[in-house]
């Protein structure tokens, strides 16, 4: 078995955030091929879902940071993913989040996970700023960005292939 090494683990009141692992694939696959992925990866076929998750895992080795898979502490079932994200063609670094099943939504998990991952990016990675790129139709994520204290930045650039996009900027030190 090959696993990413040297990766951090974060703990919140209810959640554990850790690097992606091989066993996450079926859970990611279920998410990425569902309508829940329409605002992030877009609804994927299996081939695209595979490449997207390899990108997630590979970015950790490439960047020295990456998105955390989160699960309820004491359970191994991934509920979603969140955290630092920066494909090379994106204008700047993002704090992203996805919740993988309907059952995990509405419980504040994404808020809890994103808050911890953002604090990690600012405090440990030393980021000076971070944004979240959100599809305008994704009302739940807009609400979450605001709940996290992020403020819309209408002048910020966003990934060219994701038009239209709203950019919410996270103020450093404004941890919720």
């Amino acid at each position: 078995m090959i696993a990413l090494s040297g990766t951090p683990t974060l703990a919140t009141a209810r959640l554990t955030l850790r690097a992606p692992q091989a066993g996450d694939w079926p859970h990611w696959r279920g998410f990425a091929m569902s309508n829940r992925a329409r605002y992030s990866t877009g609804v994927c076929d299996e081939a695209k879902a595979w490449r997207a998750f390899c990108h997630v895992a590979g970015m950790w080795a490439m960047r020295g940071y990456g998105s955390f898979v989160f699960h309820a502490t004491g359970s191994d079932t991934p509920l979603g993913m969140c955290g630092p994200w920066h494909p090379i063609d994106w204008p700047e670094r993002e704090i992203g989040w996805t919740v993988w099943t309907d059952g995990a939504e509405g419980k504040g998990y994404a808020f809890e996970a994103a808050n911890a991952a953002r604090a990690y990016a600012f405090d440990v990675l030393g980021w000076d700023t971070a944004v979240s790129y959100i599809d305008p139709a994704n009302a739940r994520s807009v609400t979450l960005a605001r709940r996290l204290g992020a403020v819309e930045d209408p002048d910020a650039a966003y990934p060219a292939h994701n038009d239209p996009t709203r950019v919410f900027r996270h103020p450093k030190g404004a941890a919720a």
Partner: protein, 178 residues
């Protein structure tokens, strides 16, 4: 430092084969941008963003599969000159042994043969593969020649990824090629 963890190292007479990492990115990007990568990108020019995703797929595939393609280096230098080894995106019909050499000046020296023979042996010996193919774009005459030199034989009935055309070369098992 964040790495792929306990990945294997392979050594041949002249080469050291190791897992890919961030130190290889610029060399990989130069290869993707160069004409010599045309056979693995259907002749289509890739954006830097597509190159990044292709490379992260190569790196991340190690985590999802538990194996992956090895960066080829010359003994005495850690500079990547190519990539070879086990490769199996989820939508491909079966596992492949692939190879690429990234610069013109490392071609014609038998490095790809040496690397592919070692990574194929690793797949059969350490990963327990029962069979392996190499998918080759028909105009890629050098790769066809290499597949034949490796003892692989054209398998006209084997499925291949994508629309094709694509030549499928099937590798002999170690006992057959010994």
């Amino acid at each position: 430092m964040i790495t792929l963890g306990l990945t294997p190292l392979l050594e041949t007479e002249r080469l050291r084969l190791r897992a890919p990492g961030p130190q290889d990115w610029l060399a990989a990007l130069a290869f993707y941008r160069a004409p010599r990568s045309r056979f693995i990108r259907d002749g289509v020019d890739l954006t830097d963003g597509q190159c990044w995703r292709a490379w992260c797929h190569i790196v991340g595939s190690w985590v999802l599969r538990g194996y992956g393609s090895f960066v080829i280096t010359l003994k005495g230098s850690d500079d990547a000159i190519g990539l070879s080894g086990p490769w199996h995106p989820i939508d491909w019909p079966e596992p492949e042994i692939g190879w690429t050499l990234w610069r013109d000046e490392v071609e014609g020296k038998g490095y790809a043969f040496e690397a592919a023979a070692a990574t194929r042996a690793h797949a059969f010996r350490d990963l327990g593969w029962k069979t392996a193919v190499s998918y080759i774009d028909p105009p890629n005459a050098r790769s066809v020649a290499l597949a034949e030199r490796l003892g692989a034989a054209l398998d006209r009935d084997a499925p291949f990824p994508g629309e094709g055309p694509c030549l499928v070369y099937r590798h002999p098992r170690p006992e057959a090629s010994a």
